[in-house]
């Protein structure tokens, strides 16, 4: 009983001291000091980025004096309403590329979770030892600056006025656009049947297009129906051609007797702006050795394109569509600034590719159509 009070006081004091230590950043300091290997240093950095603790992440950098924290945050958190600004780091994987006693190169694969699905990013990070602690040397972010200028934009714009509810029965309405599927090819993949092809807007007005396909078995009964979803450029300007891809998971070609295609088009307001150039396209391999189609997108208009999706269609020597792949660019397309992209190409398709064509879907927050 006599010893009870002193024991309580000692325990309480120790607890308060511990709280004060944590509060003063002792724990963080300890964690930083404990980045005892390059792997730990990069993983700790990635953990802070994942929890969007920018202050702590910035503090882990060896070269934080070279650039401001805002640049670092924009580099990782995104800007200009890009897809990255709506994404969060889901997971990461770190492995060494090269290491000595004092510095190392670590490769990190970041998996971002976004509104349009997972986005992968791969970076090689230089890590160096300062004292007993390894710190990451972050590549200085090169965020493009668009010089002030006036860019005249006088491309065509279409508006649609339909018939009114009170119009007489005989009054003409504006017809839906004529679109046509120009090719269709059923491709077998390990776990699915994929229908790929192209659709063209043959009309003189813009069309909002959707392509659906129904797989029919030997009894001509429908097995499944799927749509192109976002594997198509939905808004087609006059004479514009878009690839499409429709996936049927869980099916095999031997089950399929025929495919019924259905294309629907409706009139929509649209603008011919922006024009996006796709430059320096070439087949390449990414750091992991996967086949990719690389290139850069250049927004030739004066308006920022917040989210861009690249659709690539691949042809064989006979001009037949053999595959369609897509990828979202997580950076905004600022006017006149080239932004790189890369889309995956399956290994077994690469050898058959004779030609390819890239189309860009775009979305701008300020777009009125």
């Amino acid at each position: 009983m006599k010893a009870f009070l002193p024991i309580v006081i000692v325990v309480a004091t120790a607890a308060l001291v511990a709280m004060a230590w944590v509060q003063s950043g002792g724990l963080a300091l300890h964690e930083m000091r404990s980045a005892g290997t390059p792997q730990e240093a990069v993983e700790a950095l990635m953990t802070d980025i994942q929890s969007r603790n920018w202050d702590r992440a910035y503090a882990r950098l060896a070269n934080s004096n070279d650039f401001e924290k805002q640049l670092f945050v924009r580099d990782l958190g995104g800007s200009s309403g890009s897809l990255r600004t709506y994404s969060s780091l889901q997971s990461f994987r770190v492995w060494p590329v090269h290491a000595t006693a004092d510095d190392a190169t670590m490769r990190v694969r970041l998996n971002w979770s976004s509104a349009v699905g997972p986005l992968d990013d791969m970076r090689d990070l230089h890590v160096k030892k300062e004292g007993n602690v390894w710190k990451v040397v972050w590549p200085k972010p090169q965020l493009p600056k668009v010089p002030p200028q006036v860019i005249p934009v006088n491309y065509l714009r279409w508006d649609v006025i339909g018939r009114g509810a009170t119009d007489d029965w005989g009054v003409q309405n504006v017809d839906n656009p004529n679109v046509r599927i120009t090719s269709m090819n059923a491709v077998e993949r390990p776990d699915r049947v994929v229908i790929v092809g192209e659709v063209v807007n043959e009309d003189t007005v813009p069309a909002y297009v959707n392509v659906n396909a129904t797989l029919l078995n030997s009894d001509s009964k429908a097995m499944d129906q799927e749509g192109s979803f976002d594997m198509i450029s939905h808004t087609l300007l006059p004479k514009q051609v878009s690839p499409y891809r429709i996936d049927f998971p869980g099916f095999h070609l031997k089950q399929v007797k025929s495919v019924r295609m259905d294309v629907k088009a409706m009139l929509v307001p649209a603008s011919a702006d922006p024009v996006i150039a796709v430059t320096d396209q070439k087949m390449d391999k990414d750091p992991l050795g996967k086949n990719v189609l690389r290139g850069a997108l250049v927004n030739q208009s004066g308006q920022t394109v917040n989210i861009a999706q690249v659709l690539a269609v691949y042809y064989d020597a006979n001009g037949k569509v053999i595959w369609v792949s897509d990828g979202y660019v997580d950076q905004a397309l600022l006017p006149q600034v080239a932004v790189p992209f890369a889309v995956d190409v399956p290994d077994d398709v690469v050898s058959k590719i004779q030609n390819y064509h890239v189309l860009v879907n775009h979305y701008s927050i300020n777009e009125s159509s």
Binding site: D175, V241, V275, V278, D280, Q281, K282, Q300, Y356
Partner: protein
């Protein structure tokens, strides 16, 4: 005997009095009032059941029952029923459409390519002023007024209220007015004739400080009509750096774009499914 006959007559009188016959005219025209003669005597409830209307009122049997023009607007089969104390009797008659007064005109499509056979379809339905289909054959005059050139007129007799025709689109792009006329009624519609696919799509290139400026000749179809502005022309260039593509819309009849070039290059053009010429750039043009 006389008393017996009188007694029997007295018994029958109410039935005779209440048993009415109705005699409408053989044919009535919509919107024209008429009378239905009736036999019998006494009060009765008169019903007029029309395709789009029902009327009910008290009448005196043995007199003509007047039918207001407003009660016979709709063409079709009518039922006149009179119910008195002795029961109900009825008569049916038909009301036919009045003179043609309106035309519902349907013209398809709203846009059509030039020089296409049987591309335009025109259907005219002839109605009277009460929106009854005029079933007797009438002549519908279809007039086609192109943007340039003479007006074409075609007369078609209606069959059960419908007259139709098909025609080819003219070679020149632009609005075409089509008018359907019946008696005093007239309805006009406009079809937009648009250019067909690009024909002889050709490009020329000129080196600039940034690369090469590529532009098409004025893009026209095979009839010489200008392909509308906004139509997409796809430019593709292959050089040492890879492939560059730009989908550029036609502006004032021409599509143009600037492409980066490294060394020698091949430049091609396409619009929809039409492919144009190819240019090879070496050390110079």
């Amino acid at each position: 005997m006389l008393r017996l006959v009188s007694f029997c007559l007295l018994l029958l009188m109410p039935g005779l009095a209440a048993y009415a016959e109705l005699h409408p005219p053989a044919q009535v025209t919509a919107g024209k009032g008429f009378s239905i003669s009736s036999t019998g005597s006494g009060d009765a409830t008169f019903y007029l059941l029309a395709p789009g209307h029902v009327a009910k009122r008290e009448v005196k049997l043995g007199q003509d029952i007047a039918v207001d023009p407003a009660d016979v607007k709709k063409a079709g089969r009518y039922l006149a029923v009179a119910c008195g104390s002795g029961g109900c009797n009825s008569a049916a008659f038909y009301v036919t459409a009045a003179e043609p007064d309106k035309v519902s005109f349907l013209l398809h499509p709203s846009r059509v390519r030039v020089r296409t056979n049987d591309a335009i379809s025109a259907t005219a339905l002839v109605f009277d002023k009460f929106h009854n289909l005029v079933l007797t054959p009438v002549t519908v005059d279809f007039k086609v007024v192109p943007k340039t050139g003479p007006t074409i007129s075609r007369q078609v007799k209606s069959n059960r209220g419908v007259a139709w025709m098909r025609m080819a689109s003219t070679p020149k792009e632009g609005p075409v007015k089509v008018i359907a006329e019946v008696a005093k009624a007239s309805e006009a519609r406009v079809i937009q004739q648009v250019a067909s696919d690009a024909c002889n799509l050709r490009i020329k290139a000129k080196r600039t400080a940034k690369g090469v400026l590529v532009e098409t000749d004025p893009v026209r179809d095979c009839s010489g009509n200008a392909v509308p502005d906004g139509t997409i022309v796809s430019f593709a260039e292959i050089d040492a750096d890879g492939k560059t593509t730009v989908d550029a819309p036609i502006k004032k009849g021409i599509a143009r774009t600037e492409l980066p070039v490294n060394g020698s290059a091949k430049i091609s053009v396409a619009s929809g499914v039409v492919i144009g010429n190819e240019i090879s750039l070496g050390g110079g043009l």
